[in-house]
């Protein structure tokens, strides 16, 4: 489009009248409503006040969105590409790579300046692993907004009914399958529902393939290559086959457009035994008061366990247990008129005070250890995740090609669920992958 971009990080640094816009996929009364309310009611007045104290008149606007992730991503990409968009933008960490490669976002050091960024004391509170969410090719692009972790949730009511122990911790995939087989005896109960297929999109990868793959000792992107039809992938697909062929899971549910929502409802109705989900499931789905699928007896009826590796010790890094995590990132629009002030806003958004306030009394895994220490204590699952899961978790590779790989993985699971053999599915997965990212970027086959 040929507009000349002003790249001086110090531009307008001493402007006295500034306007900043925050863009987020959050909207009052809808998706991430709490975050939206927090920005509107807490962040904006406090930040404006703080700026005023410095003699700067700041106007902060909030561009709310409540759309599907793909729609939001498209919109933000168009914005950034055309030189528009908010000054501070909240992205899913997984998009960072593609945005960076496209030049839509640039390293903080370039946008704001090395010294400014490094000077922030907040970095010390953010664990290394979590910081990596906001990095691409070793450079900081943004500040993570919090994280999560995946565990196995199970329904204690059903376990009790099936005569299984209610404090369950499987040690291997076989353990899970055995338990599921026992649950199968219960009428009208689906023992285990493992996200699969294309209808669920990224949920299949994040709450399905990736943790399992980690359980085989591999991560999806290793040594510069994506996992093709490797042994690990084959094993994961075989597990899918066992679950869905042997009637341990409901294949039809996996193919419905709203299947994931339904699986939540079924779990809440005591009709699903085991789900692999993130702590979001505990916080927002079966939460007794505001959950999507409220469970009044959540605290007693829902159990959780670490995701076992295929067999003990076979997990990535030789672990017995594995998990995957994700999270959002706040980046600064390289085209902002006020890079310094935008950074100040980001600092403010990530201050301990702000992060605590964002939780609004609830509990969630934040980016800051100091806050986590304070707020997670009361919540068994979240402290479990913080204490036991985060140390063993893996993040997705923030590479531009990742969405294609993810789509191919989803397709492979869909193939298995709809009846193709794991071998066949792995083969076509491999081909699709080669097609998408090139022969030399794929391992296995």
């Amino acid at each position: 489009l040929g507009q000349t971009r002003d790249t001086d990080p110090a531009r307008n640094a001493d402007a006295e009248d500034i306007t900043l816009t925050i863009t987020a996929n959050a909207v009052a009364g809808g998706k991430n409503a709490r975050g939206a309310d927090w920005i509107t009611n807490w962040v904006i007045p406090r930040f404006t006040e703080a700026q005023k104290a410095k003699g700067v008149t700041a106007t902060v606007r909030f561009e709310q969105n409540g759309a599907g992730d793909e729609d939001f991503k498209t919109k933000v990409a168009l914005d950034l590409k055309t030189g528009g968009g908010g000054d501070v933008v909240e992205l899913d960490g997984i998009w960072l790579g593609e945005f960076a490669q496209a030049g839509h976002v640039r390293p903080l050091a370039e946008v704001v300046g090395d010294a400014e960024v490094d000077a922030w004391d907040g970095w010390r509170q953010i664990p290394e692993a979590v910081q990596r969410l906001g990095e691409f090719e070793g450079k900081r692009y943004g500040v993570p907004m919090g994280t999560d972790g995946r565990v196995l949730f199970y329904n204690k009511v059903l376990f009790a009914r099936a005569g299984l122990p209610t404090d369950w911790q499987p040690r291997s995939w076989a353990d899970v399958l055995d338990t599921a087989a026992k649950l199968k005896a219960l009428p009208g109960v689906t023992p285990v529902q493992l996200n699969a297929g294309t209808a669920m999109g990224e949920a299949t990868t994040m709450q399905g393939v990736l943790p399992l793959l980690a359980g085989t000792g591999a991560t999806v992107h290793e040594n510069g290559k994506w996992q093709g039809a490797t042994a690990g992938v084959q094993e994961v697909l075989s597990l899918y086959r066992r679950i869905y062929r042997d009637g341990l899971g409901d294949p039809v549910l996996q193919q419905e457009a709203k299947g994931r929502d339904r699986s939540f409802a079924l779990f809440a109705e005591n009709r699903i035994g085991i789900l692999l989900e993130s702590d979001y499931f505990w916080r927002s789905v079966v939460e007794p008061r505001n959950g999507v699928a409220k469970m009044a007896d959540r605290d007693t009826a829902v159990g959780w366990a670490l995701i076992p590796a295929r067999v003990p010790g076979a997990g990535v890094g030789g672990q017995d247990f594995v998990s995957t995590s994700g999270g959002g990132v706040r980046v600064i629009n390289p085209n902002t008129r006020y890079p310094r002030q935008a950074w100040e806003l980001v600092e403010f958004l990530n201050s301990a005070e702000a992060v605590k306030s964002a939780l609004a009394g609830g509990a969630q895994l934040t980016q800051r250890t100091d806050v986590n220490d304070e707020v997670l204590a009361g919540d068994p699952v979240l402290s479990f995740v913080a204490d036991r899961v985060l140390p063993i978790t893996r993040y997705r590779p923030g590479l531009a090609d990742y969405p294609k790989v993810s789509a191919a993985l989803q397709q492979a699971t869909a193939d298995v669920v709809s009846g193709r053999s794991p071998d066949e599915a792995a083969r076509s997965y491999h081909e699709a992958l080669v097609e998408a990212v090139g022969d030399d970027a794929v391992a296995g086959g």
Partner: protein, 273 residues
């Protein structure tokens, strides 16, 4: 009234009843779910409650988005209808070489280009025109997409207005503008009413363009909002969705009822060009 006649008569009534059921049954959800204490994707006799209604009206953007929709659709419909009417009139009355081919090509383009493929060009174009986040600009884009089909349909209506009306007016000294205003438009009114409803309905359901072109959630129409009616975590928010669906449907239904009562909603000679 032979037996055969009676059987055929009964047969055709049964057939009509079945078809009627086919069309009516899906709409039951809209009647039941909004007032059900535990609405779901399924149909059942509701546990009556008005709490969903309250919840919907409390939603920060629900009512506003309907107003936005109204603004957007009224502008888009007005633009489409007036421009299509004048264009259809001229195209119907003045033989321009290649006119029909042109109409067909535009029609084809319109059905494809309003899709996702053109979103980048449109976005960049609007940005250059400074029309991002402008409801008016968005309405124009929507109108641009609807115009070819509107002209195509309307031209047939205008074709069926007897030319002697216009000639008569002309002999009395009416200018072309007067001919259009006094004679052609009033006579083609059922057609214009049809196009009015058609374009309103189309604009009313348009998601992608307002979503991309309007940034401020306070300006976004119901079509965008209805896709964002999710709870905190991104699952469909079933307390709000049914009521909102109902509210969202009412304006088009009302418009249709008013128009069909006043002008009759039909294609008079049929479209045959």
């Amino acid at each position: 009234m032979t037996p055969g006649w009676v059987v055929r008569r009964i047969g055709s009534y049964v057939l009509v009843a079945v078809v009627l059921a086919f069309f009516a049954v899906p709409m039951l959800w809209l009647a039941a779910a909004p007032f059900d204490a535990r609405p779901g994707f399924g149909i059942r006799w509701p546990e009556w409650t008005s709490s969903n209604v309250h919840a919907t009206f409390r939603h920060p953007f629900a009512v506003r988005s309907l107003l936005n929709s109204l603004v957007l659709c009224v502008v888009a419909t007005a633009v489409t209808t007036t421009f299509a009417a004048t264009a259809a009139y001229a195209l119907s009355r003045v033989r321009i070489p290649g006119r029909d081919a042109l109409l067909y090509v535009l029609l084809l383009l319109s059905s494809v280009v309003t899709g996702t493929a053109a979103m980048v060009p449109l976005f960049v174009l609007m940005l250059q025109l400074g029309l991002i986040d402008s409801r008016f600009g968005t309405a124009l884009v929507i109108a641009g997409g609807m115009l070819p089909a509107a002209i195509f349909i309307l031209k047939d209506f205008v074709d069926s207005v007897p030319r002697s009306y216009e000639e008569s007016a002309r002999v009395f000294g009416a200018t072309p503008r007067q001919v259009l205003g006094h004679v052609v438009l009033p006579i083609a009114r059922p057609g214009i009413a049809t196009i009015l409803v058609w374009s309103f309905v189309n604009a009313w359901g348009n998601f992608l363009l307002p979503f991309l072109l309007l940034r401020d959630v306070g300006k976004q129409p119901a079509a965008v909002l209805v896709r964002t009616l999710q709870d905190e975590g991104g699952s469909a928010d079933l307390t709000v969705i049914p009521v909102f669906s109902l509210l969202y449907s009412i304006p088009v239904v009302l418009l249709y009822l008013v128009v069909s009562r006043r002008y009759g909603f039909r294609f008079h000679g049929g479209i045959k060009s």
